[in-house]
Symmetry: C2
Subunit: 189 residues, 2 copies
DNA sequence: CATAAAAACTAACGATCGTTAGTTTCGATT
DNA sequence: AATCGAAACTAACGATCGTTAGTTTTTATG
């Protein structure tokens, strides 16, 4: 089954927005990359903001599904963390351009979508916090400032989109393993 | 000594670009926030891009000076890392809006400035790598993938601009200490 | 108070933006 | 071959963009 024209547009737009940002990418730019006129895009999408909404909310749902799945199944906290990181990194690397837009351009959503996006983000962060609390309850993790720890973990994961190259030396799974190791044990010998 | 009009404009612009991005903030927006007309801005700055250049390169120089100072003085690797993180976090929190623009909007620089900025960024990252190598040579740190470790450390630090509030519960020094602890020892008990 | 520089103003330029209206072409189904 | 919807097109709209030119006001200096 071939890709719908709409999804082709979304992918092209995401790639361009990764380089130039949301406001730096015009409908005419996107159309040119698709070898069509700007007006023709409107046969497939309702407007420019829909590109951003689709990208941000589509990925938000994927991330949330990933962590829900991890949390539903029983693992101890270390296993949960391992799997959550793995899920996150795999989604990031499988949707690299979209993830980049997701992470950097969501601020350009207009209300009420921006607020709704922040709400989903908070929900996702909270799922990570629950894992850290589990770890502390089980005596596996130190007592930590949850908010601080969650944000630090998420930042390490999200920064992967800045440097990951599909043809580079590390697979997504290897990245997830290194990240988990770093998060759990740090640098010290 | 009171602040120059130029610096007032830069600070207002940075604050607005933090919310709306570089392309999302117009010269007329900036002027309105300064209670003046857009054309009047040009008595103080040469154009919109100069705001971005000044912000990005001004901060880049501060960050580099910070780590150079740390590396000049003799410390062992753990001390160097502690001081480098402290310097970075203090600069971030002292220049919160500018740092946000520095981290998120540098892509909007036109060549050759974008390339020059990337070069400075690489130089800064390299200074951190040297610290990690020192640590390994001294037997203090694990053998690590330097590139990966540096990017992960930088991401944890940079993400602070996303959530830090001056009136929040943590001082910059406390944040730096928690970050260093996290980087060195991780979550595990 | 005269003067000159600094810093504001009004007005407008050409360019580009997202989007709409209306029309034509393409491609699959009868 | 006729038909009809999908998907492209041309043309243009009003808005806004960064910036410039020329002028007036403000402020500091003698």
């Amino acid at each position: 089954m071939e890709q719908s024209r709409r999804n082709q547009i979304l992918e092209v737009a995401q790639k361009m927005m990764r380089d130039s940002g949301f406001h730096g990418t015009s409908m005419r730019d996107i159309a040119a990359a698709m070898n069509m006129e700007a007006a023709s895009l409107y046969n497939h999408i309702s407007g420019k903001e829909e590109i951003l909404k689709s990208t941000c909310f589509g990925l938000a749902e994927k991330f949330q599904s990933g962590i829900d799945e991890v949390n539903d199944i029983y693992f101890n906290a270390v296993e949960k963390l391992q799997m959550a990181v793995k899920s996150h990194v795999q989604l990031l690397t499988e949707n690299l351009d979209a993830s980049f837009v997701f992470i950097h351009e969501w601020r350009n959503l207009n209300e009420p979508y921006r607020a709704e996006f922040v709400h989903l983000r908070d929900k996702y962060e909270n799922a990570f916090r629950v894992i850290l609390q589990n770890g502390e309850d089980e005596g596996l993790f130190k007592e930590v400032d949850y908010k601080f720890a969650v944000l630090t973990i998420l930042s390490s994961m999200n920064w992967v989109v800045e440097w990951y190259k599909p043809d580079g030396g590390m697979t997504p799974v290897q990245i997830a393993e290194k990240l988990t190791d770093f998060i759990l044990s740090g640098l010290k010998k």
